[in-house]
């Protein structure tokens, strides 16, 4: 009898949010009760498990603050002896340097994504011509006064 093994994948979830902490995201995954391995790190999480489960979990976490949570694949599983610092005698893990450099740019990228989303929202609104609602006008006035 042949048993087909499900494809196992690993993903990094890098959190650059003011609202969500890596521990919050980890708790959310534990609550979801998906059979995945979660490792909390300084920049976010490493999630490993069956492909479908990991993708579902990652989607859910991304929705917590979608423009400030970034995701990428990882080749090695978490805690792999060939990469883990514990078995290599300390020091940064190979591949961490580039991630650290990119993490520095994430607040700016997140802000740019926020702006892009806001612009799309405005575009969608512009498609249908209608009178300006008083509530919208109030918001505009409040924003102007807050400057």
């Amino acid at each position: 009898m042949t048993e087909t093994k499900k494809e196992e994948i690993t993903k990094y979830i890098v959190i650059s949010s003011d609202e969500v902490l890596p521990s919050d995201a980890a708790m959310k995954i534990y609550e979801s009760e998906f059979p995945v391995t979660v490792k909390e790190t300084c920049f976010g999480l490493i999630v490993s498990g069956a492909k479908d489960d990991v993708e579902t979990v990652v989607d859910r976490i991304r929705q917590l603050d979608k423009n400030h949570i970034f995701v990428k694949d990882r080749g090695f599983p978490p805690g792999d002896e060939r990469r883990c610092r514990a078995s290599r005698g300390g020091g940064p893990r190979p591949g961490f340097h580039f991630l650290r450099e990119e993490v520095k740019m994430l607040p700016a990228i997140g802000a740019a994504l926020d702006e892009l989303e806001a612009k799309e929202h405005v575009k969608e609104k512009c498609k249908t011509k209608c009178r300006l609602k008083t509530s919208d006008l109030e918001k505009v006035i409040e924003e102007e006064l807050a400057r």
Binding site: K72, P77, P94, G95, I109, A112
Partner: protein, 167 residues
């Protein structure tokens, strides 16, 4: 969904943006995963088998250092799948698997000569540059076809129908 080649190949920002806009990023991580998780291969540095530099010969001559050919054995299959590409100029660091400048030059040359839709942007260093960077990438990715052309789907349907008839 288009398969989008990204350079640097292990970039978090690029891989995330491509996936966010509904396409598939072609990354080094997926290639590495195959190498390190298939049971038939040993631990590094032996996980690059003698066959791999031979595969690399397709892209680089025999005089070229084995490191370039070894890397091309991983990057080459990605280039062949490429349907669109985003190349970032002057990324701040090129560590690890993308740390070889000759391989990077060859990769960029092969992508440019492939004739696929290509976006070349500079790595952002300020908030304004980041805004331009994201806007350009978003515009480029939105211009790519989200679904496979109808012709391909039809041919696939035709093939599956023929198989069904044979059964």
């Amino acid at each position: 969904m288009a398969k989008v080649f990204i350079y640097p190949l292990n970039s978090l920002i690029l891989a995330d943006l491509v996936e966010r806009f509904g396409h598939k990023p072609l990354t080094m991580m997926s290639q590495i995963r195959e190498k390190v998780t298939s049971i038939s291969l040993d631990s590094p540095p032996i996980n690059i088998t003698p066959e791999d530099p031979k595969l690399g010969l397709k892209y680089a001559a025999i005089e070229v250092p084995a490191g370039v050919r070894g890397r091309m054995a991983l990057i080459g299959p990605l280039i062949e799948q490429t349907e669109a590409a985003i190349l970032v100029e002057n990324p701040p660091t090129n560590f690890g698997c993308v740390g070889c400048n000759r391989t990077n030059e060859l990769t960029k040359y092969l992508i440019r000569s492939k004739g696929v839709p290509l976006l070349e942007v500079k790595y952002p260093e300020s908030d304004e540059e980041a805004r331009d960077f994201v806007n350009k990438i978003a515009e480029f990715l939105e211009s790519l076809p989200k679904e496979k052309p109808e012709e391909e789907e039809k041919t696939k349907e035709g093939e599956s129908a023929e198989k069904g008839d044979e059964k």
